[in-house]
Symmetry: C2
């Protein structure tokens, strides 16, 4: 049985705690949260403390707090010789206070408050300063998911950046498509099957090979007609720049 | 039984023919193709003609040729008083030769040669100059799909433009994400669950509400670090412009 203590009460902490509770091989030892009441609906109150000095030794401390607080919270853990990991994509492992054995357990997925996340499909990016600790992280991650990646702090920064393009920016393209629909009294529903098909295609075809549309066809007549339809200067500029980028690849 | 004649032998014609053959209420009467051999693997050769004047009267002619050829091919149909429709997103209904009853049956999906498309999930955008013909188009479309939209030529142009954002441009964001991965020796596989989750989210949350990431959080520190990592001026420019666009919404 692996004992785990979680620090934090935000989205990631919430989902992590729920998933730890479901695993027979993992034992949730304690939770540290400044506000106990954020978590009493999912765990017994006696497991939660708002006094960080009350934390006991454990196999692993998982610091699931905002990026800016990782350094301070990890430094406040007073138990000596412990493994302390954070869960942030964009923060180096060394942000954790130097007195601890260090690691990172980064789950590459968006966590919303209301929707339960199925961790079995989530990629886990693991890093640790000590080989034995990395093995422990792998054992923990494998109880949730088969998608395990050993990624150092520099690569993790790049994963986070790549996800901004493939997730945040792709979503903004959906939002711009929705705006065009609204401007012409067309239900956005009409685009959803296409959005899903385009995403599913990545499973068997590299995005560059899957590219379709007027830009890659060099269909200058359609491109000109589209630019004429776009009255919003912001959408025009984006249309031009991405069309150019597709054509230059 | 509705009799259908298809003109064309490209991707859309190919998928349409395969799907018509599966329907008990639809009868494939003839196919016109300049090169018969493109289709002999899916239909008996006696159904195919390369002589457009050999076409017989039918309930509907579906012109599934490239946009530029719609006008000419439809004009070459010599049978009088027929319903002739095209399948193009970005072409007005009136491109069809004036002597015919006119219509459009536009399927909003990407068609690849090798992958069978399940039409039951495809949105059908219908238009016709005559109410009775529109009813016939609806009957035909309903044999394939429940997603029927009555969309005029102007709206269809806008649907096509919206799809460029939500499909072509979103896919290019995947491609840029893949490039960032490659540059840092990270397998692109790591992004696929996130890509799929982001697309699936549109089913229950408007893209604007679903927006996450450093831009919408106004996390200027992360944005600055990302821009510093991006050495490629093209990716930098796209990162800046889309970040600005997200923040202005």
């Amino acid at each position: 049985m692996i004992t785990i203590t979680v620090l934090g009460s935000g989205n990631v902490a919430h989902h992590l705690i729920l998933n730890i509770l479901e695993q027979d091989t993992l034992s949730l030892q304690q939770i540290y949260a400044r506000n106990k009441h954020h978590l009493t609906d999912i765990v017994p109150e006696e497991l939660i403390t708002n006094d960080i000095s009350a934390l006991k030794p454990t196999d692993i401390f998982i610091v699931a707090v905002s990026d800016n607080a990782i350094s301070e919270v990890s430094n406040d853990i007073t138990v000596p010789n412990q493994l302390v990991v954070h869960v942030a994509g964009n923060t180096p492992m060394d942000t954790i206070a130097a007195k601890h054995r260090k690691g990172v357990l980064y789950m590459l997925q968006t966590f919303s408050k209301d929707k339960k996340v199925d961790l079995s499909k989530v990629p886990f990016c693991l890093e640790a300063s000590d080989a034995k600790d990395l093995k422990l992280l792998e054992t923990i991650a494998l109880t949730f998911s088969e998608r395990i990646y050993f990624i150092d702090s520099n690569q993790r920064k790049a994963v986070h950046l790549a996800a901004v393009f493939a997730n945040n920016f792709a979503n903004h393209m959906y939002a711009l498509g929705e705006e065009v629909c609204k401007e012409h009294a067309i239900p956005f529903d009409i685009l959803k099957p296409l959005i899903l098909e385009t995403a599913e295609k990545t499973e068997y075809l590299a995005p560059k090979q899957a590219q379709t549309g007027p830009a890659i066809r060099n269909d200058s007549q359609t491109i000109a007609r589209h630019l004429e339809m776009l009255k919003d200067p912001n959408k025009r500029e984006i249309y031009k720049l991405i069309t150019k980028s597709i054509q230059e690849k």
